[in-house]
């Protein structure tokens, strides 16, 4: 099952500001809803997102129950050198989903 969609330019000029778009598949269950028989549906959300550029953290976000399912995050960074961008989504239980993509900087 597909988990994450990442949109990063394949190539960039050194010093260029690039946009990174990430979309991850997750129910983002708030913990406030109840099922058909009145039992509380346990909270299950991604609470932290981080992006590492060649091992250095360039963006981090804390997420809360008000965020919709399949969270979409877009942000900017400066293309400094060729290498990999790694993405981490960590849920309430400490489980982490990861994805990575490479970028070529000229």
């Amino acid at each position: 099952m597909a988990r994450a969609l990442i949109n990063v330019p394949r190539k960039a000029r050194r010093g260029e500001v690039i946009e990174i778009k990430t979309l991850v598949s997750h129910p983002m269950e708030t913990g406030y809803r109840r099922d058909n028989v009145g039992n509380r549906i346990p909270r299950d959300i991604i609470s932290r997102f981080a992006c590492m550029y060649n091992g250095t953290e360039v963006f981090r976000a804390d997420l809360f129950p008000a965020v919709a399912a399949n969270p979409f995050l877009s942000f900017f960074t400066v293309a400094t050198e060729s290498g990999t961008l790694e993405f981490q989504w960590t849920d309430d239980h400490g489980n982490t989903q990861t994805a990575s993509t490479s970028i070529e900087v000229e």
Binding site: I6, N7, P27, A68, A69, N70, F72, S74
Partner: protein
């Protein structure tokens, strides 16, 4: 002065009431939308919502398309065959533009979802997927996605005629506690606002749809169900022929509009 104001207010209220009354009293059969004015529901969405649909890498509906691609290749059932063993994905191009369609073997009208399930039963010897299940939505999304850009082309022949007529009757019939028809909103008053939302033409060319309100993908039947609830009418069970007849009439009504699966759901609507 205050008396005058009050009178004015009363008059305005009265006028509003009368215009509301005239909407209700108008003949239930709507005037069809002229071909030149036909437009996808995409046109009545906000620029922000359109931007989400325009870019596949940010449209969450793509998770279902990707899942569907996996299911397409997965061997399943007692026959242990995959969809991909019989069909190429390319051969699915244009299929969604021709559905609902008459299925010769069972001599029935079928929409794309049911057709997929028929293939599961007959060719894979597998159990059919449930309506609104992740699997059925994923496969329908994957198949419909292959037809992106293909104009809808529905021809009503002798076999389809009775289903088509039933669908049209249903579209134009007043129903529910609000006693209104689909046509009164979507033929006669599209483009106007209801509770702050633009009334779309209700075109079926982008389904399945990812709706913000649902936070997941849903079929056209689920969307129709929402409209029926909004009309305070009784809904049909999933898979009921009434939905499929309605889908057929709507598809014919949308002839010429291009398939744009996946529609990224409208802004939260009044009738949902």
């Amino acid at each position: 002065m205050s008396v005058l104001l009050e009178t004015l207010c009363l008059r305005t209220l009265g006028a509003l009431f009368l215009s509301a009354l005239s909407l209700i009293a108008a003949p239930a059969s709507g005037t069809e939308i002229p071909a030149a004015q036909k437009q996808s529901d995409y046109e009545s969405m906000s620029p922000q919502t359109r931007a989400m649909q325009d870019d596949d890498s940010v449209n969450p509906g793509m998770f279902w398309v990707l899942d569907g691609e996996g299911l397409w290749r997965r061997m399943d059932g007692a026959s242990n065959v995959a969809c991909a063993d019989c069909h190429t994905a390319e051969s699915m191009r244009g299929v969604a533009a021709r559905y609902p369609s008459f299925e010769v073997e069972s001599k029935r009208l079928m929409d794309l979802q049911e057709r997929i399930n028929i293939c599961r039963i007959r060719r894979q010897n597998a159990t059919p997927f449930g309506y609104e299940s992740r699997e059925l939505l994923a496969l329908s999304a994957f198949v419909a996605y292959q037809s992106r850009g293909v104009p809808i082309q529905i021809t009503i022949d002798e076999r389809l005629k009775p289903f088509f007529d039933a669908g049209r009757t249903l579209f134009e019939a007043r129903q529910g506690q609000l006693n209104i028809s689909c046509a009164q909103c979507h033929d006669d008053n599209w483009g106007k606002r209801m509770a702050g939302n633009i009334i779309p033409q209700a075109q079926p060319n982008g389904y399945p749809v990812y709706r913000l309100e649902w936070q997941e993908l849903g079929s056209l039947q689920r969307r129709l169900r929402n409209c029926l609830i909004g009309m305070r009418a009784e809904t049909y069970p999933y898979g009921a022929i009434d939905y499929i007849e309605l889908e057929l009439y709507m598809a014919w009504r949308a002839n010429g509009l291009k398939i744009e699966t996946l529609l990224y759901g409208r802004d939260v609507g009044a009738v949902n």
